[in-house]
Protein backbone atom coordinates (compact mmCIF):
# COMPACT_ATOMS: atom_id res chain seq x y z
CA UNK A 1 0.00 0.00 0.00
CA UNK A 2 1.33 3.47 -0.85
CA UNK A 3 1.82 6.17 1.75
CA UNK A 4 -0.85 8.35 0.15
CA UNK A 5 -3.33 5.50 0.53
CA UNK A 6 -2.29 4.88 4.15
CA UNK A 7 -2.72 8.52 5.19
CA UNK A 8 -6.08 8.63 3.45
CA UNK A 9 -7.16 5.43 5.22
CA UNK A 10 -6.05 6.87 8.54
CA UNK A 11 -8.18 9.97 7.95
CA UNK A 12 -11.17 7.83 7.06
CA UNK A 13 -10.77 5.69 10.16
CA UNK A 14 -10.58 8.80 12.37
CA UNK A 15 -13.72 10.32 10.86
CA UNK A 16 -15.67 7.08 11.23
CA UNK A 17 -14.40 6.71 14.79
CA UNK A 18 -15.88 10.12 15.62
CA UNK A 19 -19.04 9.76 13.56
CA UNK A 20 -20.00 6.19 14.48
CA UNK A 21 -17.89 5.54 17.56
CA UNK A 22 -19.31 8.44 19.58
CA UNK A 23 -23.01 7.58 18.98
CA UNK A 24 -22.19 3.89 19.62
CA UNK A 25 -20.62 4.66 22.98
CA UNK A 26 -23.47 7.08 23.79
CA UNK A 27 -26.11 4.46 22.94
CA UNK A 28 -24.44 2.01 25.30
CA UNK A 29 -24.73 4.67 27.99
CA UNK A 30 -28.49 4.95 27.24
CA UNK A 31 -28.37 8.36 25.52
CA UNK A 32 -31.23 8.86 23.00
CA UNK A 33 -28.65 9.31 20.23
CA UNK A 34 -30.96 10.30 17.37
CA UNK A 35 -32.79 12.94 19.42
CA UNK A 36 -29.52 14.32 20.78
CA UNK A 37 -28.01 14.52 17.29
CA UNK A 38 -31.01 16.39 15.87
CA UNK A 39 -31.04 18.79 18.79
CA UNK A 40 -27.38 19.64 18.26
CA UNK A 41 -27.67 19.86 14.47
CA UNK A 42 -30.42 22.49 14.83
CA UNK A 43 -27.72 25.00 15.76
CA UNK A 44 -26.17 24.67 12.30
CA UNK A 45 -28.49 26.97 10.43
CA UNK A 46 -28.58 29.88 12.93
CA UNK A 47 -24.77 29.87 12.77
CA UNK A 48 -24.98 30.13 8.98
CA UNK A 49 -27.23 33.20 9.20
CA UNK A 50 -24.88 34.89 11.68
CA UNK A 51 -21.76 34.10 9.69
CA UNK A 52 -22.76 34.80 6.09
CA UNK A 53 -22.54 38.65 6.10
CA UNK A 54 -19.04 38.53 7.58
CA UNK A 55 -17.88 35.99 5.02
CA UNK A 56 -19.30 37.98 2.11
CA UNK A 57 -17.60 41.17 3.32
CA UNK A 58 -14.20 39.50 3.72
CA UNK A 59 -14.23 37.26 0.66
CA UNK A 60 -15.38 40.08 -1.66
CA UNK A 61 -12.48 42.29 -0.52
CA UNK A 62 -10.01 39.41 -0.93
CA UNK A 63 -11.47 38.51 -4.34
CA UNK A 64 -11.04 42.14 -5.50
CA UNK A 65 -7.43 42.17 -4.30
CA UNK A 66 -6.69 38.96 -6.17
CA UNK A 67 -8.30 40.14 -9.40
CA UNK A 68 -6.59 43.54 -9.36
CA UNK A 69 -3.12 42.00 -9.43
CA UNK A 70 -2.25 43.60 -6.09
CA UNK A 71 -0.82 40.32 -4.80
CA UNK A 72 1.58 40.16 -7.77
CA UNK A 73 2.74 43.70 -6.98
CA UNK A 74 3.14 42.86 -3.29
CA UNK A 75 5.03 39.77 -4.33
CA UNK A 76 7.48 41.81 -6.44
CA UNK A 77 7.87 44.46 -3.76
CA UNK A 78 8.56 41.98 -0.94
CA UNK A 79 10.62 39.50 -2.97
CA UNK A 80 14.11 41.02 -2.32
CA UNK A 81 13.38 41.42 1.39
CA UNK A 82 11.88 37.95 1.87
CA UNK A 83 14.61 36.14 -0.06
CA UNK A 84 17.12 37.89 2.21
CA UNK A 85 15.31 36.21 5.15
CA UNK A 86 16.01 32.86 3.50
CA UNK A 87 12.66 32.26 1.83
CA UNK A 88 13.20 30.78 -1.67
CA UNK A 89 11.57 32.94 -4.40
CA UNK A 90 9.21 30.10 -5.39
CA UNK A 91 7.81 30.03 -1.86
CA UNK A 92 7.25 33.81 -1.52
CA UNK A 93 3.83 33.88 -3.29
CA UNK A 94 2.60 31.04 -1.03
CA UNK A 95 3.68 32.92 2.09
CA UNK A 96 1.94 36.10 0.89
CA UNK A 97 -1.31 34.47 -0.29
CA UNK A 98 -1.83 31.91 2.49
CA UNK A 99 -3.29 34.23 5.19
CA UNK A 100 -5.81 35.62 2.67
CA UNK A 101 -6.90 32.69 0.56
CA UNK A 102 -6.33 28.96 0.92
CA UNK A 103 -7.44 28.26 -2.65
CA UNK A 104 -5.05 30.86 -4.14
CA UNK A 105 -2.10 29.52 -2.10
CA UNK A 106 -3.02 25.93 -2.96
CA UNK A 107 -3.03 26.81 -6.65
CA UNK A 108 0.60 27.97 -6.36
CA UNK A 109 1.49 24.81 -4.39
CA UNK A 110 -0.19 22.60 -7.01
CA UNK A 111 1.73 24.38 -9.76
CA UNK A 112 5.04 23.85 -7.94
CA UNK A 113 4.26 20.16 -7.33
CA UNK A 114 3.45 19.81 -11.01
CA UNK A 115 6.55 21.57 -12.35
CA UNK A 116 9.13 20.49 -9.72
CA UNK A 117 7.74 17.07 -8.80
CA UNK A 118 6.86 15.77 -5.35
CA UNK A 119 10.40 14.58 -4.71
CA UNK A 120 12.02 18.04 -4.84
CA UNK A 121 13.00 20.05 -1.78
CA UNK A 122 10.94 23.06 -2.97
CA UNK A 123 7.78 20.94 -3.13
CA UNK A 124 8.38 19.66 0.40
CA UNK A 125 8.91 23.19 1.63
CA UNK A 126 5.83 24.45 -0.24
CA UNK A 127 3.43 21.98 1.39
CA UNK A 128 4.95 22.60 4.83
CA UNK A 129 4.62 26.39 4.53
CA UNK A 130 1.05 26.00 3.29
CA UNK A 131 0.14 23.73 6.23
CA UNK A 132 1.79 25.61 9.10
CA UNK A 133 -0.35 28.71 8.55
CA UNK A 134 -4.08 29.22 8.36
CA UNK A 135 -6.39 31.51 6.39
CA UNK A 136 -6.16 34.18 9.08
CA UNK A 137 -8.41 36.89 7.62
CA UNK A 138 -11.12 34.42 6.71
CA UNK A 139 -10.91 32.79 10.16
CA UNK A 140 -11.20 36.13 11.96
CA UNK A 141 -14.24 37.11 9.87
CA UNK A 142 -15.84 33.70 10.41
CA UNK A 143 -15.15 33.23 14.12
CA UNK A 144 -15.92 36.78 15.21
CA UNK A 145 -18.97 36.70 12.96
CA UNK A 146 -20.28 33.66 14.84
CA UNK A 147 -19.89 35.46 18.16
CA UNK A 148 -21.11 38.83 16.84
CA UNK A 149 -17.92 40.63 17.89
CA UNK A 150 -17.46 44.18 16.62
CA UNK A 151 -14.23 45.18 18.35
CA UNK A 152 -11.57 42.51 17.82
CA UNK A 153 -8.77 44.23 19.78
CA UNK A 154 -5.40 42.52 19.26
CA UNK A 155 -6.74 39.47 17.36
CA UNK A 156 -5.57 40.72 13.92
CA UNK A 157 -1.97 41.72 14.83
CA UNK A 158 -1.54 38.62 17.05
CA UNK A 159 -2.69 36.25 14.30
CA UNK A 160 -0.55 37.95 11.66
CA UNK A 161 2.55 37.71 13.86
CA UNK A 162 1.77 34.02 14.43
CA UNK A 163 1.55 33.52 10.66
CA UNK A 164 4.92 35.21 10.12
CA UNK A 165 6.55 33.11 12.86
CA UNK A 166 4.95 29.98 11.36
CA UNK A 167 6.19 30.73 7.83
CA UNK A 168 9.73 31.71 8.88
CA UNK A 169 10.19 28.75 11.22
CA UNK A 170 8.81 26.42 8.55
CA UNK A 171 11.35 27.73 6.04
CA UNK A 172 14.31 27.69 8.42
CA UNK A 173 13.59 24.36 10.12
CA UNK A 174 12.82 22.59 6.84
CA UNK A 175 16.06 23.86 5.29
CA UNK A 176 17.96 22.70 8.36
CA UNK A 177 16.42 19.22 8.42
CA UNK A 178 15.73 18.33 4.80
CA UNK A 179 18.19 20.16 2.59
Amino acid sequence: MTIAAISEQLGNVLILLFLVGIPFYAYCRKVPVYDAFVEGAKEGFPTFIRVVPFMIAMLVAIGMLRASGAFDLLNQALLPFLTKLGIPPEIVPIAILRPFSASAANAVVADLLHTQGGNSFISHLAVIVASTTDTTFYLIALYFGAANIQKNRHAVPASIIVDIVGILSAVWITQLLLQ
Binding site: I3, A4, E8, I22, P23, Y25, A26, R29, V31, V33, A36, F37, E39, G40, K42, E43, G44, T47, F48, V51, M55, M58, L59, A61, I62, G63, M64, S68, G69, L73, H114, G118, H124, V127, I128, A130, S131, T132, T133, I140, Y143, A146, N148, I149, Q150, K151, R153, H154, V156, P157, A158, S159, V162, D163, V165, G166, S169, A170, I173, T174
Partner: protein
Protein backbone atom coordinates in the same frame (compact mmCIF):
# COMPACT_ATOMS: atom_id res chain seq x y z
CA UNK B 1 -8.88 47.43 13.03
CA UNK B 2 -10.92 45.36 10.61
CA UNK B 3 -12.88 48.45 9.53
CA UNK B 4 -9.67 50.02 8.30
CA UNK B 5 -8.18 46.85 6.81
CA UNK B 6 -11.38 46.05 4.94
CA UNK B 7 -11.61 49.50 3.39
CA UNK B 8 -7.89 49.49 2.61
CA UNK B 9 -8.19 46.15 0.80
CA UNK B 10 -10.91 47.52 -1.49
CA UNK B 11 -9.23 50.88 -2.11
CA UNK B 12 -5.94 49.15 -2.99
CA UNK B 13 -7.78 46.82 -5.38
CA UNK B 14 -9.30 49.76 -7.24
CA UNK B 15 -6.06 51.79 -7.37
CA UNK B 16 -3.97 48.81 -8.49
CA UNK B 17 -6.71 47.75 -10.90
CA UNK B 18 -6.63 51.16 -12.59
CA UNK B 19 -2.85 50.91 -13.08
CA UNK B 20 -2.83 47.31 -14.27
CA UNK B 21 -5.93 47.80 -16.42
CA UNK B 22 -7.71 44.99 -14.60
CA UNK B 23 -10.77 46.96 -13.45
CA UNK B 24 -13.18 44.72 -15.43
CA UNK B 25 -11.71 41.68 -13.63
CA UNK B 26 -12.06 43.44 -10.27
CA UNK B 27 -15.71 44.20 -10.95
CA UNK B 28 -16.32 40.61 -12.03
CA UNK B 29 -14.60 39.42 -8.83
CA UNK B 30 -17.06 41.40 -6.67
CA UNK B 31 -20.14 39.44 -7.70
CA UNK B 32 -18.23 36.18 -8.10
CA UNK B 33 -16.76 36.41 -4.60
CA UNK B 34 -20.12 37.31 -3.06
CA UNK B 35 -21.66 34.22 -4.66
CA UNK B 36 -18.68 32.11 -3.65
CA UNK B 37 -18.87 33.33 -0.03
CA UNK B 38 -22.53 32.35 0.11
CA UNK B 39 -22.04 28.86 -1.36
CA UNK B 40 -19.02 28.33 0.89
CA UNK B 41 -21.08 29.27 3.96
CA UNK B 42 -23.93 27.07 2.76
CA UNK B 43 -21.57 24.12 2.29
CA UNK B 44 -20.17 24.80 5.72
CA UNK B 45 -23.70 24.72 7.19
CA UNK B 46 -24.31 21.09 6.24
CA UNK B 47 -21.01 19.93 7.72
CA UNK B 48 -21.53 22.18 10.72
CA UNK B 49 -24.99 20.76 11.51
CA UNK B 50 -23.53 17.25 11.26
CA UNK B 51 -20.66 17.87 13.68
CA UNK B 52 -22.74 19.96 16.09
CA UNK B 53 -25.13 16.99 16.22
CA UNK B 54 -22.27 14.62 17.00
CA UNK B 55 -21.01 17.05 19.62
CA UNK B 56 -24.40 17.05 21.37
CA UNK B 57 -24.34 13.24 21.42
CA UNK B 58 -20.81 13.27 22.85
CA UNK B 59 -21.88 15.85 25.43
CA UNK B 60 -24.84 13.79 26.67
CA UNK B 61 -22.68 10.66 26.83
CA UNK B 62 -20.23 12.50 29.08
CA UNK B 63 -17.39 12.25 26.55
CA UNK B 64 -16.78 16.01 26.38
CA UNK B 65 -16.60 16.11 30.15
CA UNK B 66 -13.93 13.38 30.04
CA UNK B 67 -11.97 15.20 27.35
CA UNK B 68 -11.99 18.57 29.16
CA UNK B 69 -11.02 16.85 32.40
CA UNK B 70 -8.06 15.26 30.64
CA UNK B 71 -7.00 18.56 29.09
CA UNK B 72 -7.88 20.65 32.16
CA UNK B 73 -4.34 21.60 33.27
CA UNK B 74 -3.50 22.84 29.77
CA UNK B 75 -6.84 24.57 29.20
CA UNK B 76 -6.86 26.29 32.61
CA UNK B 77 -3.40 27.64 31.91
CA UNK B 78 -4.25 28.83 28.37
CA UNK B 79 -7.69 30.21 29.16
CA UNK B 80 -7.76 31.20 32.84
CA UNK B 81 -10.93 33.32 32.43
CA UNK B 82 -13.19 30.40 31.44
CA UNK B 83 -14.83 28.34 34.22
CA UNK B 84 -13.63 24.72 33.99
CA UNK B 85 -17.11 23.22 33.53
CA UNK B 86 -18.49 25.82 31.12
CA UNK B 87 -19.66 24.52 27.69
CA UNK B 88 -17.13 26.91 26.10
CA UNK B 89 -14.30 24.80 27.55
CA UNK B 90 -15.84 21.65 26.05
CA UNK B 91 -16.12 23.26 22.60
CA UNK B 92 -12.53 24.55 22.80
CA UNK B 93 -11.31 21.07 23.79
CA UNK B 94 -13.23 19.46 20.92
CA UNK B 95 -11.88 22.06 18.47
CA UNK B 96 -8.31 21.41 19.57
CA UNK B 97 -8.74 17.63 19.46
CA UNK B 98 -10.22 17.79 15.94
CA UNK B 99 -7.47 20.15 14.76
CA UNK B 100 -4.66 18.01 16.15
CA UNK B 101 -6.16 14.90 14.52
CA UNK B 102 -6.35 16.79 11.21
CA UNK B 103 -10.17 16.80 11.02
CA UNK B 104 -10.48 20.38 9.75
CA UNK B 105 -14.10 19.96 8.73
CA UNK B 106 -15.01 19.05 12.28
CA UNK B 107 -12.75 21.64 13.90
CA UNK B 108 -14.55 24.68 12.40
CA UNK B 109 -18.03 23.90 13.82
CA UNK B 110 -16.51 23.25 17.26
CA UNK B 111 -14.54 26.50 17.02
CA UNK B 112 -17.62 28.52 16.05
CA UNK B 113 -19.54 26.94 18.92
CA UNK B 114 -16.68 27.84 21.27
CA UNK B 115 -16.77 31.49 20.16
CA UNK B 116 -20.55 31.70 20.63
CA UNK B 117 -20.21 30.18 24.14
CA UNK B 118 -17.34 32.54 25.01
CA UNK B 119 -19.52 35.49 24.02
CA UNK B 120 -22.10 34.35 26.62
CA UNK B 121 -19.38 34.75 29.27
CA UNK B 122 -18.35 38.17 27.95
CA UNK B 123 -19.09 41.02 30.38
CA UNK B 124 -18.77 43.53 27.50
CA UNK B 125 -20.69 41.93 24.59
CA UNK B 126 -19.35 42.84 21.15
CA UNK B 127 -15.78 43.38 22.40
CA UNK B 128 -13.39 40.43 21.92
CA UNK B 129 -12.15 38.93 25.20
CA UNK B 130 -8.55 37.89 25.89
CA UNK B 131 -9.67 34.27 25.65
CA UNK B 132 -11.14 34.80 22.17
CA UNK B 133 -7.97 36.47 20.89
CA UNK B 134 -5.69 33.76 22.33
CA UNK B 135 -7.96 31.07 20.90
CA UNK B 136 -7.87 32.65 17.41
CA UNK B 137 -4.10 33.18 17.48
CA UNK B 138 -3.65 29.52 18.47
CA UNK B 139 -5.96 28.54 15.63
CA UNK B 140 -3.69 30.45 13.22
CA UNK B 141 -0.80 28.17 14.15
CA UNK B 142 -2.69 25.18 12.70
CA UNK B 143 -1.19 22.51 14.97
CA UNK B 144 -1.65 18.95 13.69
CA UNK B 145 -0.01 15.67 14.58
CA UNK B 146 0.16 14.41 11.00
CA UNK B 147 -0.27 16.77 8.03
CA UNK B 148 -2.23 14.14 6.10
CA UNK B 149 -3.24 16.31 3.13
CA UNK B 150 0.32 17.55 2.60
CA UNK B 151 1.72 14.01 2.72
CA UNK B 152 -0.92 12.78 0.29
CA UNK B 153 -0.16 15.65 -2.13
CA UNK B 154 3.58 14.91 -2.11
CA UNK B 155 3.05 11.17 -2.48
CA UNK B 156 0.66 11.70 -5.38
CA UNK B 157 3.30 13.71 -7.27
CA UNK B 158 6.08 11.17 -6.92
CA UNK B 159 7.83 11.85 -3.59
CA UNK B 160 9.84 8.86 -2.40
CA UNK B 161 9.72 9.81 1.28
CA UNK B 162 6.74 12.15 1.75
CA UNK B 163 6.61 11.46 5.51
CA UNK B 164 9.91 13.37 5.78
CA UNK B 165 7.86 16.48 6.26
CA UNK B 166 6.30 15.37 9.58
CA UNK B 167 9.29 16.36 11.71
CA UNK B 168 9.92 19.87 10.27
CA UNK B 169 6.16 20.43 10.11
CA UNK B 170 5.51 19.55 13.76
CA UNK B 171 8.54 21.56 14.92
CA UNK B 172 7.55 24.70 13.03
CA UNK B 173 3.92 24.33 14.15
CA UNK B 174 5.20 24.19 17.73
CA UNK B 175 7.15 27.42 17.16
CA UNK B 176 3.93 29.02 15.91
CA UNK B 177 1.98 27.70 18.93
CA UNK B 178 4.54 29.13 21.35
CA UNK B 179 4.47 32.43 19.42
CA UNK B 180 0.65 32.47 19.60
CA UNK B 181 0.64 32.05 23.39
CA UNK B 182 3.43 34.57 24.05
CA UNK B 183 2.22 37.21 21.56
CA UNK B 184 -1.39 37.17 22.70
CA UNK B 185 -0.44 37.33 26.38
CA UNK B 186 1.80 40.34 25.62
CA UNK B 187 -0.60 42.18 23.31
CA UNK B 188 -3.60 41.79 25.62
CA UNK B 189 -1.93 44.16 28.09
CA UNK B 190 -1.78 46.92 25.50
CA UNK B 191 -5.20 46.59 23.90
CA UNK B 192 -7.62 47.88 26.52
CA UNK B 193 -10.66 45.76 27.32
CA UNK B 194 -13.49 48.27 27.71
CA UNK B 195 -17.29 48.24 27.14
CA UNK B 196 -18.38 48.60 23.53
CA UNK B 197 -19.95 52.08 23.93
CA UNK B 198 -16.70 53.51 25.33
CA UNK B 199 -14.59 51.94 22.58
CA UNK B 200 -16.96 53.30 19.95
CA UNK B 201 -16.99 56.79 21.48
CA UNK B 202 -13.18 56.83 21.52
CA UNK B 203 -13.16 55.63 17.92
CA UNK B 204 -15.55 58.43 16.89
CA UNK B 205 -13.49 61.22 18.46
CA UNK B 206 -10.20 60.04 16.93
Amino acid sequence: MLNFIWLLMMVISVVVGVFTGKIPAVILAITDSAKFAFTLALGLTGVMALWLGIMKVAEQAGLIHLLTRGLRPLLRWLFPDVPANHPAMGAIAMNMAANILGLNNAATPFGLRAMAELEKLNPYPGVATNTMCTFLALHSSNLQLVPATAIALLAATGALHPTDIIMPFVLSSLCAVIAAIVISKILQRFSGYRPLEIVQREGATQ
